[in-house]
Amino acid sequence: MILDMKDLPDGHVLSSELCIIGAGAAGITLAMDLANSGMDVLLLESGGMRSEKNTQALYEGDVADLRLHSPPDRYRQRRFGGTTTIWGGRCMPFDAIDFEHRDFMPNSGWPIDRAALAPFYPHANRICEAGDFAYTVGETFTRPLRPMIEGFTGVNFTTDTLERFSCPTDFGARYGRELRAAPNIRVLLHANVTALRLNSEGNHVDSVVARTLTGRTTTVRAQQFVLAAGGLEVARLLLASRDVQSAGIGNQNDMVGRYYMCHLAGTVGALSINRPLGAVWNGYDVSDDGIYCRRRIALTPSAQHQNGIGNFIARLHHPRITDPNHGNAILSLLYLVKNVIPYEYRKRLHGGERTTVAMWLKHVRNVVSGPFDAFGFAWHMLKDRKLANRKFPSIIIKPKTNLYSLDFHAEQQPNPASRITVDREFDALGVPRIHIDWRYTPLDLHTVSRSIQMLAQELRAGGLGELVYDPATLESEMTRYGAYGGHHIGTARMGNDPRTSVVDANCRVHGVENLHIASAAVFPTSSQANPTLTVVAFSLRLAQRMKVLIQASS
């Protein structure tokens, strides 16, 4: 059933066997997997069924450098369904190398390997509505596909892997009915958890305190608690709960909030392919199960080892939208209508660049000179994205010449100096706001620059094309849009040693017997992959553990 805490009397006490904090991808997956299990599950959600301005404002905080990181109330949603209500839907699993300890990647190495997650990935894929768990061309397609770049046989790169796209599925809308129908699950809306209360020994969560913005308080007691509130909020709640552990829960070694990672992402260069137009394909292929799939140029694990760099992928991309010299009506149209595009996607359309009147007029000229292209694109976006249930995932422009840019997505080094802390300012419920100090390292820059350099070399050596870019501006290109929004990773990292981690291999907070975390916060490294699919897989793994723990205690 779904309840609203606003309807409960002030001072109410609720009990359950399992209390999950946060109804986003992680929390809903966990609850869903326990539906009809007989376990009494209480799922606390801060928001309601729709976005609410005053609830969303609870996410506000401070950022050290706004050029490098978006404000904390952007790219995440405080409502039922969480950030899946606005996500892009890109799914891919982490690679085996992401779990390894790599000498060249400081602070790398997970206490589990990929095999530990492997049993959960296929189900996670289904939950994300990304179809079969098949992430190579060979596994996915029985029909021959157009080559991504004809003649490209990468030495350090492969074009055989692909990403799959969710609808994108809003977990709240998709699974709300099942949660409502499950006899063992209660969802409590508008329940803002403001503190976790430990016992006097500090090794057991006795209760959590939830408050509404209308001034009501509820105490929730449970045998087990799972914090599933996202990579930023997990750190915030742990750091804000200081009544017994003065530095915050799990933070006795000053680890909570550190190693904060997003992804390095950007668009660089002018890539000219010396092949006929039909010999290059930068778009989507639809698999038999109806999923939009897109191939990428992925750096191989051996190349990562040989070059001492992190994980990296690139996609063939259209030229930079802001520069009207591309002469493309569709890109100019996108530029001109950027203000009606949601913030999270708009940012990458204008990139903070100043536009002169002359540039603006050039964009208008581009649109006027290609009205059919612009109309065709608008119709495609209306039909295949706006009105479609499974949405065309992104803007794909097939250039009239084989001229592209490279859109890259790369792993960040886990860096203790990149961190989330809590402020001296408080939100409307008295919880300290977060301060974000996201940083990148020379190794991050090296990962991107070396990868692009190698790719340029391979394309040139193969006589396939020329990638022109200015290495001197690579750093500014890499940070043009700041940290890749929405991927909040590493703030409660997993490890065997409590001195260097926050949770153990089972996602349990070190030293607190009944507190687990389901979030990308536990990832010790960030991979090149978007985190949601792996968050969902971890939640399924955690659900299995909850069944064992609750059964054992009863």
């Binding site: 699974y175 099942e178 038999d288 249930n389």
Partner: protein, 300 residues
């Protein structure tokens, strides 16, 4: 074999014929008499289609059998529709829900009449699929090829309690021949049913109707509320005109959309234990259904 003049009846007749137990004879319930029962060792009441035909057959056969003080075994093919809109696991003794339509009510009445005749065995059938199964294979194939169904999202997460047609035939033979099953009721459907989404996706793939379409809520509403009534009317007109098939596509009735959401799970343990049921794997059943469908289209 009473009122078995449909594809499923034909399949059961074929299975009986190939067994070493029976020489099946097709008969109409309206023509049934004490005379015609002479020498008969078993009866399978296959009447379906409409509530009226189900009731007519049951009202014809059971009083006759009682009057004849016969102990001939009769297998009554019933339906899981009598569980109504239940969203839970049900076994053979579960109560019917209160919101039943005429079709389900007819099956309940037929079962009631059967229960007064002790040698009867009642088989409650799930959604029959397989070669030549009109409702859940042929019709669905048409929808899939036209991309009118596919992955329905949350609307397709109900349990699809499929019963492969050869499994039904095996159950009928068991019900006719096993000594201790008289007077009993059995649920029949595969033990680990897929969701409707999984059924549609799997079937679409073997039919070559890929990529599987994603059908949203609004499209389903359009199909079932706006398009279904006129399409149904055309179907009826075509039937009245004795056309081989309607010139319009087959409607997707609101009842099917409702069923696709329903979390009805059948406990089929009793059929497995008493009738020795082993269920055809879904992949195999789908392949066979698709092959039969494609073959029929080829010859058409």
């Amino acid at each position: 074999m009473l009122d078995a003049d449909h594809a499923i009846g034909a399949r059961v007749i074929a299975a009986l014929r190939s067994s070493d137990w029976a020489v099946p004879i097709a008969s109409r319930s309206s023509q049934l008499s004490s005379e015609s029962l002479r020498g008969v060792d078993g009866i399978v009441n296959c009447a379906g289609g409409t509530a009226a035909s189900i009731l007519a057959c049951a009202r014809a056969v059971f009083p006759l059998l009682r009057r004849a003080t016969s102990d001939v075994r009769i297998v009554q093919l019933s339906s899981i529709t009598l569980y109504g809109s239940a969203n839970r696991e049900v076994n053979e003794s579960s109560e019917s829900s209160a919101d039943l339509g005429a079709y389900a009510a007819a099956h309940i009445e037929a079962e009631r009449l059967a229960s007064h005749y002790p040698p009867s065995v009642i088989l409650r059938l799930g959604c029959e699929y397989g070669p030549a199964c009109l409702q859940w294979s042929e019709r669905v194939a048409g929808w899939l090829i036209a991309r009118r169904v596919g992955n329905l999202g949350a609307a397709g997460e109900g349990r699809c309690n499929l019963l492969y047609v050869d499994d039904l035939a095996a159950a009928v033979i068991g019900a006719l021949t096993l000594p201790h099953v008289g007077g009993q009721v059995f649920n029949l459907a595969m033990s680990s049913p897929p969701t409707w989404n999984e059924y549609f996706e799997g079937y679409a793939r073997v039919l070559g109707a890929a990529p599987v379409a994603r059908i949203g809520r609004h499209r389903l509403t359009l199909e079932s509320k706006l398009m279904a009534p006129p399409l149904k009317a055309l179907e009826i007109i075509a039937r009245r005109l004795h056309l081989a098939q309607s010139p319009a596509p087959l409607p997707i009735p609101p009842s099917v959309i409702k069923l696709c959401r329903q979390q009805l799970r059948l406990d089929v343990g009793k059929a497995e234990a008493a009738l020795g049921m082993q269920w055809t794997a879904l992949e195999q059943g789908l392949r066979n259904a698709a092959a039969a469908f494609q073959s029929s289209r080829h010859f058409a």
